[in-house]
């Protein structure tokens, strides 16, 4: 078996990603073909990395929030708010850096609000973030004044549609942020303290951990991640759409965290595994697209593939596989019954 604990942790995600990418090759043999055209990398693989950027950015913060036994339903709406903020700032004639800083601040503020509700008022995270999920799109509409706010600022557009040395900017942004946060929480003690809060907050508080501040922090990280995703999505279409930007993406982000093998009950987490989860979701999207299936099947096929992925990861199936493997040489099918008991 694999001895490195980090590799062992992300092995299932790597295998699943490999399988899904393999299926992509089956339906579209040129899937891995990447070429340089007009100074930009082109290819289906690059598309997966590029289109998966919003989900990947959201799942970084979402992983931390879920590790504290919480959940952040508001990230989709925060994307819309941040996109609208950035767009309205450049439309008003500000430099694009001002727009980005403004959008990030708004994202952080949204995170602070969620964190305040959860950590200080002790509102259940799912309810606390539902507030902003619903209200957020309204706020975004107020900012855009009900229209799709379009802009032509090249600096801002570059963040969503541009390239750096041929690599699309969104890919660089999510890779940098994701890997930085993943490294940072393990290099410092943040990761362990967050896990401790998620597993047993009472014990953690008695051990002297400042759980409230940490809780606010993870929601702020989630808000900032959502703001970056919102900027990228707005920049990509050169306009802020308050109604559709980031719609349902919070669910994709949660799904990415789950596919990443992180428990919704909090505790041990791996950001890298969640990022792989985000890429798996995007590869499934790509698979459906490339297979040429009629579009009305898309959502159902996606659901089926994801159920398959989750079933493969479920502890019961792992247990079954383990027993099958253990009993294979002796061929004692009667050894299976213990599994029956765990059905309830």
């Amino acid at each position: 078996m694999i001895r490195n604990p980090f590799l062992r942790r992300i092995a299932p995600q790597l295998i699943i990603l490999g399988i899904v990418l393999g299926l992509n090759v089956l339906v579209f043999p040129d899937f891995f073909h990447v070429e340089m055209k007009n100074g930009r990398l082109f290819g289906n693989l690059i598309d997966v990395l590029n289109r998966g950027a919003p989900t990947a950015l959201l799942c970084v913060g979402m992983t931390l929030v879920i590790a504290t036994k919480g959940i952040d339903l508001s990230v989709g709406a925060v994307m819309a708010i941040a996109g609208a903020t950035a767009a309205s700032l450049v439309v008003d004639g500000n430099h694009w850096t001002v727009a980005v800083i403004g959008a990030l601040s708004v994202g952080a503020l949204c995170g602070m609000w969620n964190g305040f509700l959860v950590a200080f008022l002790r509102i259940q995270p799912i309810v606390a973030t539902l507030v902003l999920m619903v209200a957020g799109r309204g706020i975004a509409q107020l900012i855009t004044e009900g229209t799709i706010l379009t802009f032509l600022d090249p600096g801002l557009i570059h963040l969503g549609a541009g390239t750096v040395k041929g690599v699309p900017t969104p890919v660089l942004i999510w890779l940098t942020l994701g890997l930085f946060v993943a490294y940072f929480v393990r290099r410092t003690a943040l990761g362990m303290l967050i896990e401790a809060i998620g597993i047993n907050e009472a014990s953690s508080r008695l051990a002297g951990i400042n759980s409230r501040v940490l809780l606010v922090c993870v929601y702020v990280v989630s808000g900032i991640g959502a703001a970056i995703a919102g900027i990228i999505v707005a920049a990509d279409i050169q306009g802020a759409d308050a109604n559709n930007a980031g719609l349902w993406l919070e669910l994709d982000a949660i799904l990415a965290v789950v596919i990443g093998g992180n428990s919704l009950l909090g505790g041990r987490f791996s950001i890298v595994a969640s990022l792989l989860g985000a890429m798996i979701i995007q590869s499934v999207n790509s698979l459906i697209l490339l297979s040429g299936m009629p579009p009305e099947f898309n959502l159902i096929i996606k659901a089926l593939l994801i159920i398959a992925i989750l079933v493969i990861q479920s502890p019961k199936v792992a247990h079954l596989l383990y027993i099958l493997r253990a009993s294979a040489p002796q061929s004692h099918p009667k050894q299976l019954p213990p599994f029956k008991e765990s059905k309830r």
Partner: protein, 505 residues
């Protein structure tokens, strides 16, 4: 209460095992009709487990239950109710938004065709409740009435459905004096009707008020049966708290206390602890004695800031300090091993290594991670010196046994090098070997000049290591014992002393 009478319920040799522990060991319980029987014991003695075995929440692993002459084996609470055993818990198990009558008849409403016959149901309910001495409008929602009335409704429901044995699990915990009297009058009526009543409570006064006899449990075993007409409070308390360590040698205690460390003045919180004062010196072990609910744990939590006090002054080495939360306390060099290891102590899924370093890391802040090498050194040091038995440091702490978890928690706090260590029930629920080791450790820490405050329900243990013992009763500091005064007899006397008599003195 003659022995010739056939018992209403007789439990013989009841045993119940949980992974790693024996919760009930060959327990006998005999209930007669028209008798109120107290079931006594500290937390974890096995009272609830016994009740759960009788009412079918748990299946017993051994023994038999004879109810009214026939052997029974309840498989669920519903089954035990139909057999005739009804239970009422401390937290009223009814539906507050339904009416009183609906609560009484839920699941067996009088019907007229497909509809509930409300008029008949309300009339029945009014009549039934009148038999219990309360006159209320049964068509009103249950929530409009006080907890005591709700308790009576719960009792009425249990009695109407079962009718042979009634088990009351701390029914008076949230009632005031008058309400308790109301409840007692109801219980006495039931006694006259010939029910066998089991009464569980931590209030000894109430036991002597209403009960005829008592069975005392400790560590899953029956340690005594008493006829309360002849027994004294001292008898009951010494049975409950036990004297397992009677043969142990006293740890050597330094005669002169060290420099003053911490002064606590008037620490109090309404409903938790009356004014608490303590002068603590280096190298002292202060024992906190008292029955369950006397304020032991509350005192520990208030000092550590786990619960915020209403008032009180703390002075550390002559300087006033503020302890608003555990973080402040840790910063001042305090440490607390809580009573409930599982919910307040361990972080179950984290590794033993992370658990040991947690408090030190929390004090250092998240920015300065304790280097891996140092973590390993600390963890290995304590695994060796405290003899923590484990497969490896990476295993989740929840897989360790109770005693080893407790040692790992001690290691967590010793790693912060505290000046003042609070231990709340450090030896509860751990095996004998670990028990002795922890007591020895307390002695060692004291010699090193650490100040300790140990809350414990095991008096003999306190006698063995405490340089002073503070006795708490009814959430008040009632007595301080020093030097040769520290004997279990004196502690029992201080705990048992009747408050009214003391006023007379």
């Amino acid at each position: 209460m003659t022995d010739e009478r056939r018992p209403m319920l007789q439990a013989k040799g009841i045993s119940k095992f949980f992974p790693g522990t024996v919760a009930l060991d060959n327990v006998e319980l005999t209930l007669h009709a028209g008798e109120i029987h107290a079931l006594l014991g500290e937390n974890g003695a096995g009272k609830s487990t016994l009740i759960k075995c009788l009412t079918g929440v748990y299946r017993r692993d051994g023994g038999m239950v004879v109810l009214d002459g026939t052997e029974v084996d309840p498989t669920s609470t519903h089954h035990s109710q139909t057999l005739g055993i009804g239970t009422v818990y401390q937290e009223v198990n009814l539906l507050p938004n339904l009416t009183v009558a609906e609560n009484l008849y839920l699941g067996r409403q009088p019907m007229r065709g497909p509809f509930v016959d409300r008029r008949r149901m309300n009339a029945h309910a009014r009549e039934t409740l009148r038999d219990y001495g309360i006159r209320i409008d049964p068509a009103q929602p249950l929530a409009t009435y006080s907890v005591a009335i709700q308790q009576v409704v719960a009792i009425a429901r249990a009695v109407e459905m079962s009718g042979k044995v009634l088990i009351l699990d701390e029914p008076t915990a949230s009632l005031d004096h008058d309400e308790v009297q109301l409840l007692f009058s109801v219980i006495r009526r039931l006694k006259d009707r010939g029910l066998a009543v089991v009464f569980i409570t931590h209030f000894l006064d109430q036991v002597f008020d209403i009960c005829d006899c008592a069975t005392v449990l400790r560590n899953g075993q029956v340690v005594g049966r008493l006829d309360l007409a002849t027994a004294s409070r001292n008898d009951v308390i010494s049975l409950m708290l036990g004297r397992q360590l009677a043969a142990q040698v006293r740890a050597p205690k330094p005669e002169t206390a060290g420099k003053p460390l911490l002064q606590i003045e008037g620490l109090q919180k309404t409903g938790m602890l009356g004014s608490f004062n303590l002068d603590l010196h280096e190298g002292e072990v202060i024992g906190l004695a008292g029955l369950l609910g006397s304020g032991r744990t509350e005192a520990a939590n208030l000092i550590f800031g786990a619960v915020k006090a209403d008032q009180g002054k703390l002075r550390l080495r002559g300087k006033d300090i503020q302890v608003r939360n555990p973080r402040d306390a840790v910063a001042h060099g305090f440490a607390l091993c809580p009573e409930d290891r599982k919910t307040d102590g361990i972080v179950g899924e984290l590794s033993v290594r992370d658990n040991i370093v947690l408090a030190l890391q929390a004090r250092q802040g998240w920015m300065r991670k304790v280097p891996r090498k140092k973590v390993d050194a600390i963890a290995e040091h304590y695994v060796r010196t405290l003899d923590i038995r484990l497969a490896n440091l990476d295993m989740p702490i929840r897989l360790l046994s109770g005693g080893n978890q407790q040692k790992a928690l001690l290691a967590r706090w010793l790693a912060t090098d505290p000046d003042f260590l609070i231990l709340d029930e450090p030896t509860r629920g751990i095996d004998i070997g670990a028990h002795a080791e922890i007591i020895a450790l307390i002695g060692r820490l004291q010699q090193d000049g650490m100040a300790l405050l140990v809350a414990s329900s095991e008096m003999e243990e306190l006698v063995a290591y405490a340089s002073r013992v503070i006795v708490l009763r009814d959430r008040n500091q009632v007595k301080e014992l020093t030097g040769d005064e520290i004997t279990s007899e004196n502690i029992i006397r201080a705990i048992a002393a009747d408050p009214r008599m003391e006023v007379a003195e």
